[in-house]
Every structure is written in structure tokens, then in C-alpha cells.
Subunit: 449 residues, 2 copies
């Protein structure tokens, strides 16, 4: 009998827990689902075999240590900054651990200790980061195994809504993940990437004007904007000298041009608060970023300031969101970004009938036997319901499968890792395929820049 | 015999020291000029009556305390962050102090102690801050004394080159003050001001597109861009409820539109360093902010990206600076802002023949007896040479005059101050006039927004 402790059972954990419950009997697992607040979901597991629920405040050292000590493997779905304290316990008590979060500097620093303790601390095994690592490294290794030399790697992921749910929403977008992260996406520093051997930098306020169009068979056109630091995985991927590397986020075409209005106006700024936000309407909020005029409308001032044609789709998108409406803002001392999030949540919150969609797309350029070649690899996953979302599935399944592979002795290399080796990507991708998460690869003519 | 200690004798101290030397005999002053490196200027004062020079490292506590203890008044022309340690000594030893720098939070916190010690710690008594406070408060107090109610206050200052030195320089600008501060001007946060009762915010990346044209009789048109925080002196000026308040920086028209190119490209970013700056040319640097292209020129890519017409003055300004030239950049691991400064310094460093010019302009709107009125007040000061610059004169004279007024018992109110009361602005403005620094006031028709 092996024991699995799952800490943090939020919205993104539905598929994860379902998978583990379904596999518990066959693998002789005892599951403990621990959360600060189990009331919301404990009932669901009442009387379910092999499953306990437990109230756990992980800042209480003794309770946390006791819970971890009872487990063979810990899955942490906590907010990213809380993983390290759990990882330290796991290493000390020689327990394996799985998270879907980025490896922080503190987490990375535990690598040698984890190796010495002989435990696997696997991170970044959700969707992005996660499935992107698995699917990219599989192709990159195949190219290298054949003797190819990588020339170009581009990778895009987007969390969107499924086309049948778009209806009258001109943005073809809703929040399928943390809204605050979406509002602040790209903020805080220059974007870095490399094209044909040249380093390229884009300041935040231009990121949404430097997009690339991606076509995915059966799903149409998407646009990608650059992520903050495309250079960071070069070493792990063995691509230190690659001439072109670019990572981005996918939206439907036209999204970025309209989002750019918020950036240009200053609405995504989270560094200061407005003096009188609770006395403002959406219209006042928009007007606060425009010059004063006794007679001109907020709409006209904005169109003139940002050179937006009156009949453009940008105006349609902005009007649809209500940024010119006289709706009150009930937030005291709010930052522009907080107010923008409030406005967006009115329209961009998933309904019960909404289905989300994860889209991932890689491009690999390489040279082999003197010839330049290019491969595309794409994956589209749709949600099954507003509870079993594509986001929950593409994050939860790889985490759960990895936990199984560790407990069954298939993944054994100790240390703090991200999933970039054959040991993990082959079996996880194989099982993801069985769950319908499939990459379609296609050779296309080589296109450089 | 009174003793004055001047700490820090850099370029901006020429006029200050000349004034004190000229007045030393009549006022029975003994001057001590102390600097980390006096070799450069000590010779000039060899055998000059009433003047000593002294090597002083102000981080050496004993030496610093001894020097301050010998003085009746200390003038600190050190970098701003070094004033506080001097001020603490001055308060403990009951010495007066004068600086031209902004009151930092640490400096402000010494107010009560300075009051108790009975010493005057006068700050912000250079040109901006300094002469702007004096000249604005004089008019604001006059309006209030007449029973007027302030409706609008706008204040602009610019350090420029004198028109006769412009020659072929299409920017009509050179560095007359710390180049780094000019490159980073406006960076780091949103601009805040108030127009007709409404708070207004501009993100950094739009500041140079939201300018105002100012006309000054005899000197033509200037453009003003907004300073970071126009709201900060409201309390000190007694303008807490004023509907319109705006502070800005003056340049010649067209400057901001062209400078905006650097901002839009990301060249003023000081938050990261370029991977290979020492291997780059000016042209490579410009190209690093543009998309890759095998065939298109850097010039065309930039004109297309930022929608700059080929025949515009913006391109003339950029070409003149050489940002498309293949000149090497000899800076390792430099930030974009550091490289931009290097490029600008090649063209914007004052020659021996160059004369600088300080331009200050205030607008005061007010209501009196049911009538709305408006006053303008302008001052233009030109340098006498590349050593006796307008900057050195407009910073040095008010500092020196204030030192004299404190030692002669005309300024007596103890505490940490900025020059906003009659006690200081009346006598300092009067003596500045004698030195040719004169404000011209003019009533104009009331213009709101």
C-alpha cells in the first residue's frame, strides 16, 4: 500500500484527483486530500474507498510534517511560493514530490540535497510549463538522434474558449486561468528572444504589437505574442547556440491589437493606486488616462489619441467590454490593473456552459545532411465541462501520471527536475495520448526569417 | 569672523564659490572649500584671501566632524544621498546648512531636531527645485493676499542650449546637466497630475506624446512634457484643493516626438543588460529592438514599425545622432539606457564655445471678485561661458545668497525647509534680479481646459 498526499484541492485539481481515485484500487494507493478548507469538496469523497480528506494549514509545521511523514509521495497544488517548505520536508523525510509550478531559485537550490536523499522532486509538469517541455523535448531529441542540428525553436501555448462558446464575444476569449496573471502578462520587463543569431528585445508597451500569426489545421488562425524570457530554457534543452528561439502565448487574431489599447492607456499598471477609485465609473476610469476636455467625448478622445478608426474592430471590442459605460467601480484605492481586472471579469468569466480550449504549437527548424527542414507539432485539448476544463485536464493528467510513474518505479532519477528527459516524456506523452491529448506532427517547407 | 564650509566643489559650484569669495571680505567670512579631490582647483585659490582648500572624504567621520565643527554654516554640494549624514552633524553641532537637493524622507525626518537645535537646514534652493519655488510662491502669495482663489498652477523648467549655439543640431538640445538623469527622465512610474478637478495619469511610454506648447516672448516656442509627480508640492504650496496642477520640463518643439522613438523602441530601459553589447555597433543596437529581416534595412524597419514618414524631422534627428551608423559600442554588459547615453554624449556634450540656457515658465489661473484671471511668469537665463553656465549660476547664486542671508540673520526660522516663505523668497529673488535673473510677469486672458 502506497500513500499519496495531495495538498491544495482547488479548481485545477479536479482531473488530477479523479485520475488518482480511479487508479487507487489497482495500484494499492491510499489518497489523502488536504486543503485549508475541505468543507467544499469533502462530501464528494465521503465513503469513497482509499480516499481521506484532511484540513491542513501548511504553515503549521507539526501538522504539515505529520501529513508528509505519512505519505510516500506528495503532490503540491499550492500557490508556487509555498512549494519550497513542502520540498524541504519531503527531502528530509525522503518522500517524492510533484508540482506543476516553475522551479524557483529556492527550489532549484535543493537539487543536490534531493539527489543525496534519493527522492524525485518533479516540477513544471502541468501544461505550460509541462506538456510543452514533454512534447518539445521529444521532437528535439529525435532530431538530434538522427544527426540533425537545431536551427529554430518556437513554442506557443494559449488558454482560450472553445469556438462554439464564442457567440457574440468579439475577443473570442475568456479567463480560463488566474485573471490577475492575464492582466499583468508581459508587464515588468523587456521581452527577450533570439532570431537568426541576433538577440531581440521588446519593451512591454510594444509586446502586443509584435505578434506572429499561427495557423493550426482544423482550428484556423491564432496570433502569438512573445513571453517575457524566451532564452531561459536554452541550457536545459541543450539549445545554447540555437540561432532562433522564441516562446509565446496564443490568442485569436485581433486580441492583441485591442489589448494593446489597455497597455497604451496605462490600464495594466499595478504600481500605484488611483486617488478616488471607489467614486469612479468605468467611463471615468477610461477618461483618467486621457487629456481633459470640456466638450469632447471619452470615445473620441481615445480614438484620436491612439489613432483608432471609428469603424475598427478594436472599438467594437472595447465597447462590448463596457469601458465607456457609467457602471460604478466598487473598489477602494485600487490600482489600474485591479480595476481593469474587475471590468474584464464582468464579461470574461466562464459560464456554466462554457468550454475552454488549450492550444499548443511548436515549430522546429533543423539542418540534416546539408538540408534544412522544418516540423510543426500541434495539440488542441477541449474541456469536457466547466468543471472538467481543458486547463484542469492538461495540468492534472501529467501531474497524476508522473506521480504514478514515480510510485511504480518508472521515474527514478533523484533530484529537483523539470520533465525534459526520455525517462519522463516518453511514458507521460504515451499515456496522455490514451486520454486524447495528442500532438499532430507535420513536415513543412523550411522557413527562416 | 564667520566660517563657511563648502563640501563638494564640482562643475556646478563655480558661481557659488565666486560669489562667496567676492563677498568674503565685506562680510568677514572665512571660506573652506573641501572636496575628495582638490588638486583640480586648489591652485586657483592659492593665495586668495579668506579661502582655504581641504581634502575631505566625508565618509571619514572624524575628519568630517572636525571640518563641520569649525564652520558656522555648511553648504553641501555633494550627491543628494550624502546630505543626511552632514545634516545630522550640523544639527548636533548647531550649524546651519544649505543644499540644492530635494528633501529626502530621511532629511525631512530631521525637521523637529533641527527646530530644537535652532538651526536652519535649507534645501531645494537651486534652480529646479529652487528658483521655481521662490518665483511661484511669490505670485501665489500675492494672489491670495489680494483675496484671489487659485484655480490653476502650471510650472515648466528646461535646461537647454542657447539658440546661437544650435547650429546644425536638429534637436536644439545638448546635455547641460547629468546625462543619465536626462536619459531616464520620466521612467519608472506613471505621471500624475490634475486637470479641472480630474486626476490624470500617463504611463511612461506615452509621456513624450502628451506635450503642451509654451510661447515665451523673445524666445519663441517650447514644448513641455509632464514631470513624474505634479501633485507633490500641493500641501506645501497651500494648493490642496486646486483643480489644475501640472509640472513639466521644457524642450524645443519636436524634441519629444523624436525622443519618443527611443522610448518606444525600449532604448531608455535601464533594467537589464544586453548579452553582447561590446560586440555591437550603434546600428546593431538599433536593430536589436526591431524584428529580424534578411533583406530590409534597419532604417526602413524602424520607419515602418513606428509609422515615421521618411521625410519627417524625426528621421533627420535620428540620423544626425548616428543611431544607424556602424560605430562600435565599447561598453561591456551595458543596459540599453547606458548605450543610448553613450551615443547621445557623442553629439550632445557641450563644446568649449557652447552657452547653455535655463528657461522657466509658470502659469497661474485664479478667481477674484467673481472674475477669472491668468498670469504668466517667465525667466530665461543664459550662460556666460562653458564654465560659468546658466545652470551653475541659477543653482549657485540662490545657494550662496541664502547662505549669506542666514549668516546675516535675515533667514532665521529653524527647521528643515524648502524655500516657500516670504522670509526667503523676497530677499533671494531681489538679489537674483540684481544678477540678471529676472521674471517677467504678464496678465493674459483666462484659459481653462
Amino acid at each position: 500500500m502506497k500513500s499519496i498526499l495531495i495538498i491544495g484541492a482547488g479548481r485545477s485539481a479536479t482531473t488530477l484527483i479523479d485520475y488518482l481515485v480511479e487508479n487507487a484500487k489497482a495500484h494499492h494507493w491510499q489518497l489523502t486530500i488536504a486543503d485549508l478548507n475541505v468543507a467544499a469538496f469533502a462530501e464528494k469523497f465521503l465513503g469513497v474507498d482509499f480516499v481521506n480528506t484532511q484540513v491542513l494549514n501548511i504553515t503549521h509545521k507539526e501538522a504539515r510534517e505529520a501529513a508528509i511523514n505519512n505519505a510516500d509521495l506528495v503532490i503540491s497544488m499550492l500557490p508556487a511560493h509555498m512549494h519550497v517548505v513542502v520540498a524541504q520536508d519531503c527531502i528530509r523525510m525522503k518522500k517524492h514530490m510533484v508540482t506543476a509550478s516553475y522551479i524557483s531559485a529556492e527550489m532549484g537550490a535543493l537539487h543536490e540535497k534531493a539527489k543525496q536523499a534519493g527522492v524525485v522532486i518533479m516540477n513544471e509538469i502541468g501544461v505550460d510549463p509541462g506538456i510543452d517541455h514533454l512534447s518539445a523535448m521529444k521532437v528535439i531529441d529525435e532530431i538530434r538522434d538522427e544527426g540533425g542540428k537545431m536551427l529554430l525553436f518556437e513554442s506557443f501555448t494559449g488558454g482560450l474558449i472553445s469556438p462554439e462558446c464564442v457567440k457574440d464575444n468579439p475577443w473570442e476569449y475568456k479567463f480560463t486561468w488566474n485573471p490577475r496573471n492575464v492582466v499583468l502578462a508581459g508587464a515588468g520587463g523587456a521581452v527577450k528572444f533570439k532570431q537568426e543569431g541576433l538577440y531581440k528585445y521588446i519593451p512591454y508597451h510594444q509586446v502586443f504589437r509584435r505578434t506572429e500569426i499561427i495557423e493550426i489545421e482544423g482550428y484556423g488562425r491564432f496570433e502569438g505574442y512573445a513571453n517575457r524570457d524566451s532564452l531561459m530554457y536554452r541550457n536545459d534543452y541543450g539549445l545554447n547556440d540555437i540561432p532562433t528561439i522564441y516562446r509565446g502565448t496564443l490568442r485569436k487574431p485581433g486580441f492583441c491589437r485591442a489589448w494593446d489599447v489597455f497597455v497604451k492607456l496605462g490600464m495594466t499598471d499595478d504600481s500605484y493606486t488611483l486617488e478616488n477609485s471607489a467614486q469612479m465609473t468605468f467611463r471615468d476610469f477610461t477618461n483618467t488616462f486621457l487629456a481633459y476636455s470640456l466638450s469632447d467625448s471619452v470615445e473620441l478622445k481615445m480614438m484620436h489619441y491612439l489613432q483608432i478608426p471609428q469603424d475598427s474592430e478594436i472599438m467594437e471590442k472595447l465597447m462590448w467590454l463596457g469601458i465607456f459605460d457609467k457602471t460604478p467601480i466598487p473598489l477602494e484605492n485600487a490600482s489600474p490593473a485591479q480595476i481593469l481586472q474587475y471590468i474584464l471579469e464582468k464579461k470574461w468569466t466562464l459560464n456554466k456552459d462554457d468550454i475552454d480550449m488549450i492550444v499548443m504549437h511548436h515549430k522546429f527548424g533543423y539542418q540534416i545532411n546539408g538540408e534544412k527542414k522544418m516540423l510543426e507539432s500541434s495539440m488542441v485539448a477541449k474541456g469536457k465541462s466547466s468543471v472538467h476544463t481543458a486547463m484542469a485536464r492538461t495540468v492534472g493528467l501529467p501531474v497524476a501520471i508522473t506521480a504514478k510513474l514515480i510510485l511504480t518505479g518508472k521515474i527514478v532519477t533523484p533530484g529537483v527536475h523539470r520533465p525534459i528527459t526520455k525517462e519522463i516524456y516518453l511514458p507521460v506523452l504515451k499515456e496522455l495520448e490514451e486520454h486524447g491529448i495528442v500532438f499532430t506532427e507535420k513536415e513543412i517547407p523550411y522557413l527562416g526569417y
